[in-house]
């Protein structure tokens, strides 16, 4: 099971925080900070697995992370998940973001935090892997965005059908 998905930048500023296990707010922030410090200590050419910090749950949990440019993507998982599988999952998530935002960068995550959540929800749900087919996810997101737009601009839609 995936306990949490955290994305923060090289200075530790959170860009996406999603917990699949309930923690009180202060603990959540502490976990983000602690995770950042653990991950920051790692050089770039060592393995992407870290034993978890003390806050997030002890010996059964580990942190699996990838570093993309200015962002760290960290998945905190328990022993039931395949470590290498999660590495691929992170890649799938990032590639999906890339397809949805066209050359995604940190700014996209900042200004469209909600959309990032919606995309994530199509990949991971309730701490479990839901879908890994990027095309399906992107198609779904596009459909939902169209739906949103049509609600915002009902007049436009009416016009375009003529």
């Amino acid at each position: 099971m995936i306990q949490a998905i955290l994305v923060f930048n090289n200075h530790g500023k959170p860009r996406l925080v999603r917990f699949y296990q309930r923690f009180p707010e202060e603990i959540q922030q502490q976990i983000v900070r602690e995770t950042f410090h653990l991950v920051l200590k790692r050089d770039d050419n060592i393995c992407n697995f870290l034993e978890g910090g003390s806050l997030i749950g002890g010996s059964d949990y580990k942190l699996i992370y990838r570093h993309y440019a200015t962002l760290y993507f960290v998945f905190c998982v328990d022993s039931s998940e395949s470590e290498l599988g999660i590495l691929d999952l992170i890649q799938v998530f990032v590639e999906t973001l890339d397809k949805c935002f066209e050359n995604v960068c940190e700014l996209d995550l900042i200004f469209h935090m909600d959309k990032v959540h919606y995309i994530l929800q199509e990949v991971v749900m309730g701490g479990m892997v839901l879908e890994t087919n990027m095309n399906e996810i992107v198609a779904q997101m596009e459909a939902q965005n169209r739906l949103e737009k049509s609600e915002n601009f009902p007049m436009t839609l009416h016009l375009s059908t003529r």
Partner: protein, 743 residues
């Protein structure tokens, strides 16, 4: 009044803030607007306000005042509102808030009447924060969605079912019957979810596990299709078709095949195929291969296949990719108990991984290395581990140190090697060892008489170099106190060094006065100084500090027993000088602390105290030794009476008398005894095996005890008999043997 910011501008302002205080100011200002807007702002803008609020929530600012807004947005008919509302619910609400139940109704409506994206949102929210109660309320709706044809909603309904089963296990009954059929679907998302659901159900109930064994052939078929299908753009990751699904199937096969011959057989061929044909040039292939290996090792597979699997792991250990090496080490650790000899073959490679600079890797390598130590490799492994101890990161030191000590205890080839090893650990990582290391080492040294000189020389040298590591200092000072006389002679096995008395005393004083020394350490040093002041000057009157006898190794337990036996010893007549001496002993006991002290310190002062009193005057005439009641149970009593025949000082005669004051007779009575090794025991035949009820004639038995060394006498008794229709067995040590029985 500054108008409310648009979302984009708000984020820009936050980013523009140069300090934490500035950021807080911007956010607090805007939150005031958001609050106002929630109260009486435009409902159509509510979703934007909540989005802003969720952003600041992520940064760590309070957002609880948005909880009710989530409910309102979820209840709105617009998709754009529901989307943010549900997200807010997932981020801000949970079981502990009363508000969470209020969304149950909205979810119910959305599940049954919403369009697909809305149903998806509702399911997602339910699977994230649904309480047991909510799950029960909504089970029927979710079941319906599981059966309808659209894959988008279906796959979400299946995963929601997993969450519901976790929260309310009785719901398994609803979802279990639907699983087998779902496996015939083609959509990968549905298959993935179904397999996750089946795994959850199997883990919860052995009956479910048995039920699902019948799907093994279907799983094998799905996996085979994935493995043999050519490149498909839809689901492939680096040329491997849907590795996520493959891994899940392999996991479920592991659960179903475990301890089940037939299922294991069904999957054997396929596992062999996957193990040999998977392309591992990229991560995805490796992920699948690892899972295959773990499954092979966990089910009843052919021996050849098992060997293949372990060898695959061995190959992975040599891979240049560190992630692969990490997972290989983790997998080998899982197998080290069940397939120890197979894993042993890869020991050299594992040891190589100790030298990794990567802390995650070296930690795994350490765990695995410790698990691989056995009697044939203990010398070389300990060498490697000690080298590792010297350079490993601090958070691994404690585990490494205690691992080495444990391995040494289990497999030490010689006592001297054992002492050397512990000494090395104490000098390298003394501050990280566990408390009992001191007691263990003193026990070990004490028992190795031939090594006393060697030990004290080595410890002295070590102490002279470094008095900061407390466990080392404690052992060393104890040893110097005990065997200090050896220090003044040369020892062939260590570097010849003429140690002067003054140097030794000076060192002990240094320890005593050092600010680094703990109170316990000072106690050791003080005791050592006292002992040496007698040993080295040859003062025999203070025999109170005589070499102490070795006590059985038993850890804290022995401490307790030793203390008890000391307390129970016949009370010594308290004259003024002796009471002062007693006080001094108590003082020493207090400063030395409880668990740190070697257990053997306790019994000797009392016995030696008596000795001290005896010395100035002529030995008194032998007074009769009082009888001792040692056992009582439901009217059955055992009494010991003692005789020391004059003329045979080493001989002690004990008469054991068994009486019975109860209503029922005692039959088949057998009494056995045990004494310390240095003492000889002879049991004469008892007078009988039966004691009639109500004080009938007792059984008597004579023990002859020869104790030429005057070793402190300990007596353990084992009684077996029948009484009141039950067979009784009692084993106990006689605690309060009078000193005169062996002096």
């Amino acid at each position: 009044m500054v108008p409310s910011l648009k979302l984009h501008d708000f984020m820009e302002e936050i980013r523009g803030a140069k300090t934490q205080a500035q950021e807080r100011e911007v956010i607090q200002k805007e939150c005031a607007h958001i609050r106002a807007s929630f109260r009486d702002g435009d409902p159509l803008q509510r979703h934007r306000q909540l989005t802003k609020l969720l952003y600041v929530h992520m940064l760590g600012y309070p957002a609880h005042f948005g909880q009710m807004e989530c409910l309102k947005l979820i209840a709105s008919p617009r998709f754009i509102d529901k989307r943010v509302g549900y997200l807010g619910a997932m981020l801000l609400l949970d079981e502990r808030h009363d508000a969470h139940l209020l969304i149950t109704n909205s979810i119910k409506n959305d599940l049954s009447q919403g369009i697909q994206p809305v149903q998806g949102l509702a399911l997602c929210t339910l699977s994230t924060m649904g309480s047991a109660e909510m799950c029960r309320d909504l089970a029927t709706e979710v079941e319906k969605l599981l059966l309808q044809p659209g894959p988008y909603v279906r796959k979400k309904a299946i995963l929601t079912a997993v969450h519901m089963v976790r929260k309310a296990p009785e719901l398994s009954d609803i979802f279990l019957p639907l699983c087998a059929k779902l496996l015939h679907e083609h959509h990968h998302g549905i298959l993935l979810g179904t397999i996750t659901l089946i795994m959850e159900l199997c883990e919860r109930s052995p009956a479910a596990l048995r039920h699902f064994r019948k799907v093994v052939p279907k799983l094998v078929q799905i996996l085979r299709t994935l493995v043999t299908t050519g490149y498909s753009t839809e689901h492939s990751i680096s040329g491997i078709s849907d590795p996520f699904l493959q891994v899940q199937i392999l996991r479920l096969l592991r659960i179903l095949g475990r301890n089940h011959e037939k299922s294991s057989e069904t999957m054997n061929d396929l596992l062999a195929q996957v193990a040999t044909n998977t392309d591992t040039s990229r991560n995805a292939g490796s992920a699948v291969l690892f899972e295959t290996v773990l499954t092979i090792m966990d089910i009843h597979s052919a021996a050849g296949l098992r060997v293949l699997a372990v060898n695959i792991l061995g190959r992975f250990l040599l891979n240049s990719d560190k992630n692969i090496r990490y997972v290989a080490l983790t997998s080998l650790l899982k197998l080290v108990k069940s397939d120890h000899s197979a894993v042993q073959r890869h020991r050299p490679t594992v040891v190589e991984c100790l030298r990794e600079s990567d802390a995650s890797l070296s930690r795994r390598a350490l765990e695995l290395s410790l698990a691989l130590v056995n009697s044939s490799n203990v010398r070389s492994m300990t060498q490697e581990l000690q080298a590792f101890l010297e350079s490993c990161p601090p958070d691994l030191r404690a585990d490494c140190a205690s691992g080495i000590l444990l391995a040494a205890e289990r497999f030490a080839p010689t006592k001297r090697w054992h002492i050397d090893t512990i000494l090395h650990v104490l000098t390298t990582a003394g501050t990280y060892v566990r408390d009992d290391a001191v007691a263990n080492l003193t026990q070990l040294i004490g028992g190795a008489q031939e090594l006393h000189a060697y030990s004290v020389h080595r410890l002295y040298h070590a102490l002279a170099e470094d008095i900061s590591q407390q466990p080392l200092v404690q052992v060393a000072t104890w040893c110097i106190g005990e065997y200090g006389d050896f220090l003044l002679e040369n020892c062939e096995e260590t570097e010849p060094l003429q140690v002067e008395e003054e140097e030794v005393m000076a060192l002990l004083e240094k320890v005593l006065q050092s600010h680094m020394s703990l109170p316990a350490t000072r106690g050791y040093a003080l005791t050592a100084l006292m002992k040496l002041s007698t040993r080295i000057q040859g003062d025999t009157e203070a025999a109170i500090l005589e070499k102490m006898p070795l006590v059985e190794h038993g850890g804290p337990q022995t401490d307790e027993e030793a203390k008890e036996s000391r307390d129970d010893t016949a009370p010594v007549p308290t004259e003024p000088q002796t009471s002062k001496l007693l006080d001094l002993l108590n003082l020493l006991d207090d400063t030395s602390g409880d668990t740190q002290q070697p257990p053997s310190l306790n019994p000797s002062p009392e016995g030696a105290l008596v000795h001290l009193l005896d010395l100035p005057c002529a030995p008194p005439p032998p007074a009769p030794i009082p009888n001792l009641k040692v056992f009582e149970r439901e009217g059955v009593q055992l009494n010991l009476s003692f005789t020391r025949p004059p003329g045979t000082p080493a001989l002690l005669l004990i008469t054991v008398t068994t009486t019975n004051s109860s209503e029922d007779e005692v039959t088949h009575f057998i009494c056995q005894a045990a004494v310390p090794k240095s003492v000889q025991l002879q049991l004469e035949a008892p007078s009988g095996n039966t004691v009639p009820a109500q004080d009938g004639p007792p059984i008597t038995q004579l023990f002859r005890i020869l104790n030429p060394n005057k070793a402190p006498l300990r007596l353990k008794l084992r009684l077996t008999y029948n009484h009141f229709g039950q067979s009784v067995q009692e084993i106990f040590e006689v605690n309060n043997l009078p000193v005169k029985t062996w002096q």
